[in-house]
Each structure stands twice: as C-alpha cells, then as structure tokens.
C-alpha cells in the first residue's frame, strides 16, 4: 500500500522527467536554445490561469469563465491604451474587470446558491459577449511604442519577465494558502463544507475569495496575453478553460476539493505545455494535440478519482 501510494504521489515527477528526457535525447530541436526560450515565453499564461483555477477547485468549485475573462481583459486593455490611457491605469482597469467578474461569480455561488458550474458558465458567455461588443468583433492592436509587449518577451536577470511574474504569484499564493487563516479555510470548505461552517469558518467569504482570486489571476493572464499577441483578441482564450483545469488536475489539485497546491498546478501547466511543445516539434496536426490534451485530462481525472476514493474517512 505504502509503496504504491508513493509511486502515485511521485507519478507526476516521473512523467515530467520522461517528457523532458525522451524528446531531449531524441530531438535536437527540442533542446535548442530557441525552443527553450520560446517555450518559457509561452507558458506564463497557463501557469497563472492554473493557479487561479486552483483556488476555486480547492473549495470544490470550478471556474469556466477564465478563458472569457482573458479575451475580454485583453480587449479592455487594448481599447483603453488606444484611448490614450496610461499603461498603469489601463492595466489596473483590466485587473479590476477580472476581479469584478470573480466577485460576481462568487456572489452567484454564495448568495444565490447556484452551482459554480452554472454561474461561471453564464459569465463565460457574458464576458465573451462584452469583449465582442467593446471591440466590434475585431482584434484591437496595441498603440505603437507601447511598453506592454515587453512583459511577454522581456527579460530580467536573464529570465523571461512573465516567468518571474508567475513565480511571484506562486510564492505569494502559496504563502497565503499555507499561512493565512483564509488560505486554510479554502481547504476546509472544500474538504467538508458543513464541518467548516460549524467550526465558525465563513463559507461565504471563502467562496468569494476563491472566485475573486481566480478572476483576478485570469485578468493578470489577460495582460500577459495582450502583451504576447500585441493586441486585444475578443475570440482568444477559447481553450484556456480546459487547459487551466487540466493543468491543475494533472498537478494533483483535487476535482473534489480540499486538496492540492499551487506548486502542483504550476507543475501541471508545465507538463501540459511540454507535451504540446513536443507534439509541435514533431509537426503533429494541432487538432491531434487537442485530442492528446483531452486524453491527458481523462487520465489525470482518473488518478484523481482513484487517489481520492482511498482518502475519505468513512
């Protein structure tokens, strides 16, 4: 029992090692400097979204609106910059829009008692439509000379800026989850909501905080996204819901709540992106990449079900 548990616990590291080592030996393109740089510059968005999604998964919810928040946020950011807003103000407004959607999601779940699946599904539609309305359905380019694209391609001390940003969020988020009462309450609410309530934990506040953080992280991802494509794209981010959930679950965040870490979610995001990258290098049809992604989600979900069924008390 103990040894199989250990293997299941380490499975993700083994998978990561295989995903790096095998193509690394077989394919010189994979281990090229360009590919590595390109890879690091492509994963910031998913890293940030997977962490945001994890807060909601921890309370046994799900956030289907993150992809739409990324699209809407990128449009808001580009439109405000075009309107002549200073960069800091446009970024602040974008972050506020994501935070606002998150709070509305949380309020819908907390006050109206609608399952998060439905609330966030509704906001997915609302946010996509809002982005389309603002942009008139077209991409909005960033004003020339904007500093924003630096966020996607720039470096600090030799590391890509977006990775440093993700790392900062990882450290802050992990600290909050481990050492702040509200962080532990997310685990408690996801583990046993009724017990948490009877212990004096404010379930409503934990719910609100989880969704607000997810919306906020999605808006940060929106800023990185706009920087990366040098525009606001109202129809971007379509696959990001699935990918963020997949990354978190691959990283050991339980779909049933109460278990998981941000580090795990980041690991899942890296593994997911690696697999995508490898398939890319081998010129696999991108549609097949999506199928592979779907299969990975099923496998991760299966491992999740198997390990969680062993852990329940009764």
């Amino acid at each position: 029992m103990a040894s199989t548990d250990w293997i299941v616990g380490q499975a993700r590291w083994i998978a990561l090692a295989i995903a790096v080592i095998v193509p690394g030996i077989l394919n010189p393109n994979f281990r090229s400097y360009d590919n590595l740089q390109g890879f690091l510059q492509s994963i910031g968005i998913l890293l940030i979204l997977a962490m945001g999604q994890s807060f909601v998964l921890l309370i046994a919810g799900i956030d289907l609106s993150v992809g739409a928040v990324v699209a809407m946020g990128s449009v808001i950011l580009a439109a405000l910059l075009q309107a002549g807003w200073p960069l800091w103000a446009a970024v602040a407004a974008t972050l506020a829009s994501g935070l606002g959607v998150g709070i509305l999601n949380g309020a819908g779940v907390m006050i109206l008692k609608i399952p998060s699946f439905i609330v966030t599904f509704a906001f997915m539609g609302i946010c996509f439509a809002t982005g389309l309305m603002i942009s008139g359905g077209n991409r909005i380019g960033l004003p020339s000379g904007s500093l924003l694209p630096q966020l996607a391609s720039g470096q600090l001390w030799g590391a890509p800026l977006q990775i440093i940003l993700a790392l900062a969020l990882l450290i802050a988020g992990t600290f909050g989850l481990r050492h702040l009462p509200i962080g532990r309450h997310l685990y408690a609410v996801g583990g046993n909501q009724e017990a948490a309530r009877l212990s004096g934990v404010s379930v409503g506040r934990a719910t609100l905080v989880a969704f607000a953080l997810s919306g906020f992280f999605a808006a940060i991802a929106a800023v990185v996204y706009a920087a990366r494509i040098v525009s606001g794209n109202p129809i971007g981010g379509g696959n990001l819901n699935l990918q963020s959930i997949a990354a978190a679950v691959i990283g050991g965040v339980s779909l049933f709540g109460g278990r998981g870490t941000l580090l795990g979610a980041c690991f899942g995001a890296i593994l997911y992106s690696l697999i995508e990258n490898v398939l890319n290098i081998y010129n696999v049809n991108p549609n097949i990449t999506e199928i592979v992604a779907g299969v990975i989600v099923l496998l991760a979900g299966l491992i999740n079900v198997l390990t969680d069924s062993k852990r329940s008390i009764a």
């Binding site: 702040l180 009877l198 004096g200």
Partner: protein, 527 residues
C-alpha cells in the same frame, strides 16, 4: 417545576444552581410537532442523560440548545438569565459545545489544524501562529490522554480515532456545557475507556454534560440524572440510581416491553447454503464458516475488527485476495452486487443513509429499486404490481409512515432500516447479510427488527448477522464467530458467555489487560 423535582435535584448537587435551563420549549417543522413544551435543566458537574426513541425530539432539543435551530416558544436560560442563540457559533461562544453524530472534521487537514479551525491563532502579521496551533492541539489531546501525533491528517485515522478528535475539537473550546450525541456509536475497548475517563475528569472540573446514547449500560454507568423524551414531551426526569433498566425502557417506549429478544427457532441439520473457506481481503485473514438454511450465524468483534469488510467481501464490494466462497455448493467466481443478487444474496449495509437508501427518494422508490427490472415489460415499469409489492412490505414490515410517497429522509432510523430491508426482501434472497442492522435505532424499533430477523429464518432463509452489539448477537445467533484484528479467533455455540466473547475479540496485545484498562487509543488494525 414542581417542588418535589427541586428537592430531588438539590440532593445530588447541593450547591449547584442550574447551568443551563430550558423551559416549555416548543418547535414545529412544517406543521409537525417536534417538541411540545419541553423543560430540562443541567447543573455544573453532572452528566444528564437524554433518552428517547428516534423521533422523540432529542436532536431537535440539542440543536435548540446549541443555537442551530430556534424554538417557536419557550426560554433558554444560561446561569439564570434568558439568552437568545442565533447560530451554533454564538452557542459555542457562550460555552455550549455539541459533538454531533456526524464527524465534523476536514479529512485533508491535520489533527491540529482541525482543532484550531475557524479560530486560528495569529501572529502580529496576521499569519497563522503554527507554534500555538500545535501547542493547543497537543494540550487538548493530552488532557484527553489520547496519544496521536497532531500532524496526522484526519483522513488517516480510524473512525474511532476521528470520533475522539471530534470530541477534542469541541473540548479545545473549553465549553462549560458539553453535549455528546451518541459518542460511543463508533467506539470500543480502549477508546471507550478513554472517553469515560474524560467524562469523569470533566465532571470533576464542573463541566455540565448532556449525554445521548442508545446504550443503556452507559446511561447507568455515567449518568447522574436521566430525562426521557417521548413524542416531543419530557416524560420524566429521574436520578439514575433510583431507576432500573426496565423502567427506563418502559418510559421510552411508553408501552410494556414484553421481552427484548424473540425466541430463536431451532435449526435442524439442514443443508449448508453459504460456505466460506479461508477468506482473506486487505483487512481480513483466514475467515471460514458454514451457514445453513434457517440459521442465524452471528459475527461480532470490536470496532475495526473487520466485520464490515466481511459483509462487503461477500457481496463483491471488496476485493478478495484469497479463499473461496460457495453458494449452495457452487463456487462463486464472479462477485459483484448484481451477481450476488442473482445468487440469492442480499445485503443490508451498515451505512443506512449512505449505502442503503436514496435518502431523498420516496419509500416506494427505495423499496423497489432492486426489482425494477423484474417488473418491467417492453421497457416500461408495471407500476401497479410494483406498488402492490411495496404495499405488501410496507404492511408486513410495519413501516410507519403517512404515505408511500414520503421521502425516506423523513423517517426515523428504525423505519428507514425497514425500508432497506423491504428493498432487500423484494429480491427474495435466500441468504441475508445484515451489517449492524440496529445501529442508531431506538429500543422499540430494535425489538421489531429482531422479530423480523427471526421471521426470516422461520421462512428458511439464512442470516449472517454482523453486529458489534454483543447482547444482540448472543441472543439471536445459533452460532457465533468472533473476529479480532481481521482474524477469526473463535467459533462459538450457545450458551455464550460475554466474557469469553470479549476475551476473543480483544486484540492480542491488549488481551492480557481488561477492556477498561487500555487507556491509550487503539491503533488501526494492521492489514
């Protein structure tokens, strides 16, 4: 309050004023009266037991005292002054701590985190003060003399250990009033001794304890006074020392209990219908027995001894590592709940609400799930003949409900159990595996279930009666097997002696000691 009552109480605790007092409490739910003017009081340093059949109003009363339900009428007084409780949290702040039957713990958090949940000590920076969390956790476990590492996640504990942690969680709040709702349902041996010692210590430090249990021996062992509730009214409040077990039962059921156990019909040397040889699972080892038609084979042991694993393995819910199972002489190859049903095996599971019933569905639906296919022609259920069947069992099992459309969740525990039994009986099984069939149900309903079990064997069905209530298996078993730490330690025939069964049931390491002496918390049975 009559004068006689007053004098009676002051005898026991001459200096004690009532700590908590409720007067003429009334509560109705959707027009159904749950409490019809109940008065009750608790003094510092006493154990006041609350007895009554399920549905008598015990849970409503403690929920009102805890603050999670507000009464329609009546007053709650703490230290003589009237209070209003609007939430369980407020109740806790005023020193009223309730340990509910359902374990209120978070599985993936450690013991110490559970013990501080919702009131985490903070450092000056607002972060959790882990050193204080640990100190608090260790202090309360020490006070309870429970030796568990506070770092262990609750999900790694046995149910009995988790029950002790649930009590610790409330104790950590230093309540002046402690309500224990069936705390011993999952405990045995060492854990029981730990709990009883704890209760004695709490009494000595002037905590008032309200103790709810269906185990009458505990009431007589621990209680100072006992209040009996029946149909939402307080029937009587007495000193435990002044009454007998029979009187108590009579007050609870409100009718003369003729005998607690029905007579067993004799078993002729009829054919063996179920035969188990060398059965081993993750928690069981080398279990072998024969079960004959018309026979009740009892199976008992302490909590965690593996008797639930036996039921699950027989029915195909738990993988069998080695050993063989024969039904009517044929070896069972494929085991699953469906295959078992085809073989004539029916299980009444231990966890009535979780496994036995679809709790929100109606009585009729619940009773008919297992035979829907049999009553289906061309893909359509023949509702009329199905309802005839349901009505037949509703009547023969004496399920007490207003209608058949009522959700199972509205029934008392005993009636819920009868609905499960009706569903299992509808498949016309030759062998019934009953796993803790009377757990958490009241005395009157127990007697009815016992009669039903005996009726089953009169119909030449075979029953495997798995129960941790020793009196029950002793009275109802033609033969008896005892499990200890997953091993079959004895196969006994009547007359049984409870000391012999207990000796066989105690884990080998504890066997030398008496049951009560084991003060440390028993560890999980090694696989």
């Amino acid at each position: 309050m009559s004068g006689a009552d007053e004098s009676m109480r002051s005898e026991a605790h001459p200096h004690a004023a009532p700590l908590l007092q409720v007067e003429n409490i009334e509560k109705r739910f959707w027009g159904i009266t749950a409490l019809a003017g109940v008065s009750f009081d608790l003094r510092a340093g006493e154990v006041h037991c609350l007895c009554g059949e399920n549905g008598a109003g015990k849970s409503t009363l403690i929920k009102i005292m805890a603050g999670s339900v507000s009464p329609d009428a009546g007053a709650i007084m703490l230290d003589g002054s009237t209070i209003k409780l609007s939430s369980p949290h407020e109740g806790l702040q005023r020193g009223i701590g309730v340990v509910y039957q359902e374990l209120e713990l978070i599985p993936n958090l450690s013991i110490m985190e559970n013990l501080s949940l919702g009131r985490e000590p903070r450092t000056a920076l607002g972060t959790i003060d882990w050193r204080e969390v640990r100190r608090r956790g260790e202090a309360v476990l020490d006070q309870m003399r429970v030796s568990l590492s506070v770092d262990r996640p609750v999900s790694s504990l046995t149910i009995a250990q988790a029950q002790l942690v649930a009590i610790a969680k409330i104790l950590a709040l230093k309540p002046r009033i402690l309500v224990l709702d069936e705390p011993t349902a999952a405990l045995s041996g060492g854990e029981l001794a730990t709990l009883f010692t704890l209760i004695d210590n709490l009494k000595a430090s002037d905590v008032g304890i309200i103790y709810i249990s269906h185990r009458l021996d505990e009431i007589f062992r621990l209680g100072d006074r006992v209040t009996v509730l029946r149909d939402g009214k307080a029937v009587t409040t007495k000193h435990v020392s002044e009454i007998s077990e029979d009187q108590l039962i009579q007050w609870m059921v409100g009718r003369k209990t003729e005998q607690r156990f029905p007579d067993l019909p004799p078993v002729d040397n009829s054919e063996v219908i179920l035969s188990v040889r060398g059965l081993a699972t993750a928690t069981l080892r080398d279990v072998s027995f024969d079960l004959r038609k018309g026979e009740i084979l009892g199976c008992t042991g302490l909590a965690g001894c593996g008797h639930d694993a036996l039921a699950r393995a027989l029915i195909g819910l738990e993988p069998v590592l080695s050993g063989e199972i024969f039904v009517e002489g044929r070896k069972v190859e494929r085991r699953s709940p469906r295959a078992s049903q085809a073989l004539g095996l029916g299980l009444v599971p231990e966890d009535r609400k979780g496994q036995g019933l679809v709790i929100g569905a109606s009585i009729a639906d619940n009773a008919s799930y297992s035979v829907l296919a049999r009553y289906t022609r061309f893909g359509v259920v023949n509702a009329r003949s199905l309802m005839d069947l349901v009505r037949r069992y509703h009547k023969s099992l004496q399920i007490r409900s207003a209608t058949l459309d009522q959700p199972a969740s509205t029934l008392s525990g005993g009636n819920q159990q009868k609905v499960v039994l009706a569903r299992v009986m509808s498949t016309d099984p030759d062998i019934l595996v009953l796993d803790e069939p009377t757990r958490g149900i009241d005395v009157g309903a127990k007697a009815e279930i016992y009669q039903l079990i005996v009726d089953l064997v009169r119909e030449r069905r075979a029953v495997l009666l798995i129960s941790s209530e020793m009196a029950e298996v002793m009275a109802l078993s033609h033969r008896l097997i005892v499990l200890s730490e997953g091993r079959q330690t004895a196969t006994l025939a009547p007359p049984y002696s409870d000391t012999e069964i207990l000796a066989k049931a105690l884990p080998a390491s504890e066997g030398a000691m008496t049951a009560a002496a084991g003060a440390s918390v028993g560890s999980a049975p090694s696989p």
